[in-house]
């Protein structure tokens, strides 16, 4: 049996690649190591009756063209909006951002009339900047070192695009790309808690603090998510993030793709410089004209291939590609919702997020711990209660609580053990307890995931949730390596389509789609 294309890895990007190839009439096989598709976008019933978006838990940037092309709503995709963010402060006060713009403005006014004034202007600039950057997400990065006409044309187009923004916005873009989120926000706002909660979104998935340059541009992501015309694409998937993967898998199957779970791939077979198929861990060989890996770059090149099949400088570049996982996740089953000191009782606040980022110094201190190899004793946390939005996630009257935690360095001093994992879990729940006294007594079950657990379960190297850090020197034509950012690899017939390629990061699917388009353009799988 010979396939046109084999896709290694059934995460959302692998599935998107498979769906697009199948849609073009190719005979496609997806091979997934785990018993279910989704990779880091999975929903699992970890405790009886309690379902969790085990790793990735919000849908923000899923490309509208993918939703359209694959007709995902018909395959069960349903996004429920995430309405608000409440940031409790250490003095018992809070800062809230609500779905209603005017209400948010009034709330800001309570903290600082000046910031409330600046907020609208800031929002306008960020919306515009997000629009300006968006085309880049759907673009194959041109290679600035190449003299090929296609690359030169691409560079010229890029240059024109940016010059077209005009001076002021171009300068804002340079600032966003190079500044720390704290410095960038300092130019706009004076309220510390506002800067803290906003800059916290800039550190997610990075091994950087809010005062580290390079964190500002992630501020844009939030505005990209809110913008998409199709619907408000910032929210929860009904049924958890696993439902996103299931919808894409269902679309792929409908186009004729075959998806095989419990099928770990050991190696890509290469004959005279061309990929010919794969060998499974059980020894089975499957051949195909084209092989695509949606695994991260380290596993794609250093595990699925032998290094002598690749140019040495390319191997050196891939070895240098940085992962440094820094995030953990704590999933809790609760018998009742916690009441937060700053906003006592139960209410609409529980349908949104709680951001534990009471001050810039608090988040920066959390980073300091991680820099020297410890988990944050008082971590930054992003807390949501998915059962409040989608009651199907927990038994009646009970709740699930998802806590995204930073920082938990992959390279912990002394290494991660069962004991350090539990100590980390304790630090998390004890910190929540400070803001919501009595919360601990409602915990029925607790699952703690360290970066090492994330690596073990999903395969993401060093537990990096973006399949490689999204730092400036690992973006665009440098992702994952200079000269190889256009989804092809040094091995003929072997392609890459994971988040470790441009543009990477989040449940976006852009990498998977661009890779499929590249393969089809190359005539792959003919």
């Amino acid at each position: 049996m010979r396939y046109d294309a084999i896709v290694i890895g059934g995460g959302h990007n692998g599935l998107v690649t498979a769906a697009y190839l199948a849609r073009a009439g190719k005979k496609v096989l997806v091979l997934e190591r785990r018993p279910r598709v989704g990779g880091a976008a999975v929903t699992e019933e970890i405790f009886p009756g309690f379902k969790f978006s085990m790793f990735s838990y919000v849908v923000s940037l899923l490309r509208p063209e993918i939703i359209r092309d694959l007709d995902l709503p018909r395959h069960g995709l349903h996004i429920l909006p995430l309405e608000s963010t409440v940031t409790p402060m250490e003095n018992g006060n809070y800062l809230a951002a609500w779905a209603d713009h005017d209400e948010t403005r009034r709330e800001l006014y309570r903290h600082s009339p000046r910031d409330a004034e600046a907020y609208d202007e800031y929002g306008r600039l960020m919306h515009f900047m997000a629009q300006a950057v968006k085309p880049i997400l759907s673009m194959v990065p041109p290679d600035p070192t190449s003299f090929a006409p296609g690359d030169l044309a691409g560079l010229l187009k890029l240059g024109k695009h940016f010059r077209g923004l005009g001076g002021e916005r171009l300068h804002a873009l340079v600032k966003l790309m190079t500044m720390s989120s704290a410095d960038f926000l300092d130019e706009w706002f004076e309220t510390d808690v506002l800067k803290a909660t906003k800059s916290a979104s800039g550190i997610i998935g990075t091994f950087l603090g809010p005062r580290s340059p390079g964190t500002a541009y992630v501020l844009l992501h939030h505005y990209m998510g809110e913008l998409d015309g199709v619907f408000r694409a910032w929210g929860f998937a009904k049924g958890g993030t696993g439902a996103v993967s299931e919808a894409i898998a269902s679309a792929a199957r409908a186009f004729g793709a075959e998806i095989r779970c419990d099928a770990p791939v050991a190696k890509v077979t290469v004959r005279s410089g061309t990929a010919t198929g794969v060998v499974l861990e059980n020894g089975d060989e499957i051949s195909a004209r084209t092989v695509v890996s949606s695994l991260d770059p380290r596993r794609t090149f250093l595990q699925l291939l032998e290094t002598d099949q690749l140019p040495p400088e390319f191997v050196a570049d891939i070895k240098r590609f940085k992962f440094r996982g820094s995030s953990g996740k704590v999933n809790l089953a609760l018998d009742a919702l916690p009441s937060f000191t700053c906003m006592p009782g139960l209410g609409r606040q529980h349908r949104g997020a709680f951001s534990i980022s009471p001050s810039l110094d608090y988040v920066e201190h959390a980073y300091d711990d991680a820099k020297y190899g410890e988990f944050s004793r008082r971590p930054y946390m992003d807390i949501v209660f998915p059962s409040m939005i989608d009651p199907g996630m927990a038994p009646p009257g009970k709740h699930v609580m998802s806590i995204f935690v930073q920082y938990a360095p992959y390279h912990l001093n002394g290494g991660w053990t069962d004991a350090t994992r539990e100590a980390f879990g304790d630090a998390v729940v004890n910190t929540v307890e400070c803001f919501a006294p009595g919360f601990k007594s409602h915990i029925l079950h607790r699952q703690v995931l360290t970066p090492l657990d994330i690596e073990r379960i999903t395969g993401l190297s060093e537990g990096n949730i973006f399949a490689g850090e999204l730092s400036l020197h690992q973006l665009f034509f440098l992702r994952p390596a200079p000269g190889w950012a256009k989804f092809a690899t040094p091995v003929r017939g072997f392609y890459q389509s994971g988040s470790g390629t441009h543009p990477g990061g989040g449940i976006m699917g852009a990498s998977g789609r661009l890779a499929a388009l590249r393969i089809l353009k190359d005539g792959g799988g003919r």
């Binding site: 070192t145 340079v174 500044m179 580290s212 340059p213 390079g214 940085k322 020197h473």
Partner: protein, 477 residues
């Protein structure tokens, strides 16, 4: 209307101010330089002087001397002894091999790669920054020329430029080296005058910036007596001990400078200030575009360096001594500054000069900065504590160590570079976006100091660039 005695007034007799003044004078302008300090600072000037400045002002004939000591740095090693790095690559390799053969093997390649990148910066620094908004065909041609120049340097250099500049110095050095001592010595330059630690993005750029003009394998800028030479050079008039600010008349046009808060006005159609941009517009601010004023106010110039001086008789046993034993040491020193405290164990570098030692202490943040006597004593004790294991004689000299903290420096927030050299404040973003060509919104007023391109640590480049722009834009009537 009376005729002005001067065609141009230059504020500040630092290297950039003096260089700008001499270029204007050589073009036939009558120039007065006004300097606040009554006396000349005896310290030598740190930083690369572009060869164009030396040649065009004929400085060699007037006695300019550059010194780059050899070894250019000595760093105490953990288990005793010193790491000494030399101008001679082979000699450095031998020195490094004693504790890390792997690092020794990397040294020549690393030095060659860094030299090549610094060459690109050197080329960018001796001209005004590329104006990426321009529609002027000449400027577009110049940008295209720069692009071609970089492309000719080869694929590796383009990739290095894109990869290395936004990196942290820690990531760059970790890519190449294993030994803490070597990474500490190199990493220290990456954080010079930045309120950032070695793990912060953009510090690799700062490292390269300070490599500009140095020979291959030397990662400390040269020092020179250029300021003293420029002061002796005929052609300009210098007025010392007077603080000057640009002023405009009732109609909003620049009329010259005012001396002191209520002092005399000296008329001139052209005022060139090497003061830092945050301070330069003090007297004219209300009449400027509020967007410009906001941008100026947003310049990051958070001073973190205390400068020290220690009178020293007899041999020092070193020329340059660097105490920054590892990247983590530097990072921890920075941690304190993040929260507004002086480093408990600061990064300290000493440079021996004739009869005294120049001291660089980092991090000493502005607004804490040892401003009261007690903090000052604590800082001095910390500096001596860090040095004592390596320079035992320092203990006896503690009382003679004079430290000037950012609070005590004249520049805004005590930042000696008039603006941090972070990626958002260089090239066409320096001093503020849209105004990187030395001109200001007030006609006739120009900037020429370290706050403009290419920034601090490069002596005279901004002054020359500014003067050339001024001469082009202000044809004599």
């Amino acid at each position: 209307m009376t005729q002005s005695r001067y065609d141009a007034i230059v504020i500040g007799a630092g290297v950039n101010g003096l260089v700008a003044a001499h270029y204007l004078a050589r073009a036939g302008r009558r120039v007065l330089v006004v300097e606040r300090e009554p006396n000349l600072d005896p310290a030598l000037d740190i930083g690369w002087v572009p060869p164009q400045v030396v040649r065009e002002l004929d400085l060699e004939r007037h006695g300019v001397r550059f010194t780059q000591p050899d070894p250019w740095i000595a760093a105490p090693l953990e288990g005793g002894g010193r790491l000494e790095l030399w101008r001679d690559l082979g000699r450095s390799v031998d020195a490094i091999r004693r504790f890390s053969p792997a690092d020794a093997a990397q040294w020549p390649d690393f030095c060659a790669r860094m030299r090549k990148l610094a060459t690109v910066l050197e080329r960018l620094y001796v001209a005004p920054p590329p104006d990426i908004e321009s529609r002027d065909p000449r400027e577009l041609a110049r940008i295209a020329g720069l692009g071609l120049y970089v492309r000719r340097l080869g694929k590796q250099t383009i990739i290095d430029l894109a990869r290395v500049l936004p990196m942290s110095i820690a990531e760059l050095l970790d890519d190449w080296f294993e030994s803490d001592a070597l990474k500490g010595v190199l990493g220290a330059v990456g954080v010079w005058h930045l309120k950032q630690g070695p793990r912060s993005g953009g510090t690799a750029f700062n490292f390269l910036h300070h490599h500009a003009g140095s020979p291959i394998g030397v990662f400390r800028p040269p020092v020179s007596n250029i300021k003293a030479v420029l002061l002796e050079l005929p052609g300009i008039e210098v007025l010392r001990g007077q603080e000057a600010m640009p002023v405009h008349g009732p109609d909003g046009h620049l009329i010259g400078v005012v001396l002191g808060p209520r002092g005399d006005t000296i008329d001139a159609p052209l005022v060139v200030t090497s003061a830092d941009p945050r301070a330069a517009f003090e007297h004219v601010k209300p009449d400027l575009d509020p967007e410009f004023v906001r941008a100026i106010g947003n310049i990051k110039c958070r001073g973190v360096v205390a400068k020290g001086m220690l009178v020293w008789q007899g041999p020092t046993g070193f020329t340059n001594l660097c105490v920054a034993p590892s990247l983590d040491y530097l990072e921890r020193a920075y941690d304190a500054a993040k929260y507004g405290r002086d480093s408990e164990r600061p990064y300290v570098e000493l440079r021996g000069e004739d009869g005294h030692i120049e001291v660089h202490v980092q991090y000493v943040p502005f607004s804490n900065g040892g401003s009261n006597a007690e903090q000052h004593r604590a800082l001095r004790a910390a500096v001596v504590g860090v040095l004592a294991p390596h320079v035992p004689e320092i203990k006896a000299a503690e009382s003679r160590l004079v430290l000037k903290c950012p609070d005590q420096l004249e520049q805004t927030e005590g930042h000696l570079y008039h603006g941090e050299l972070t990626l958002d404040q260089i090239l066409f973003m320096r001093p503020v976006p849209g105004w990187s060509r030395y001109r200001t919104p007030l006609e006739g007023l120009y900037l020429c100091g370290a706050g403009t391109h290419p920034g601090g640590g490069i002596a005279g480049a901004a002054g020359r660039n500014a003067a050339r722009v001024i001469l082009k834009e202000t044809k004599r009537s």
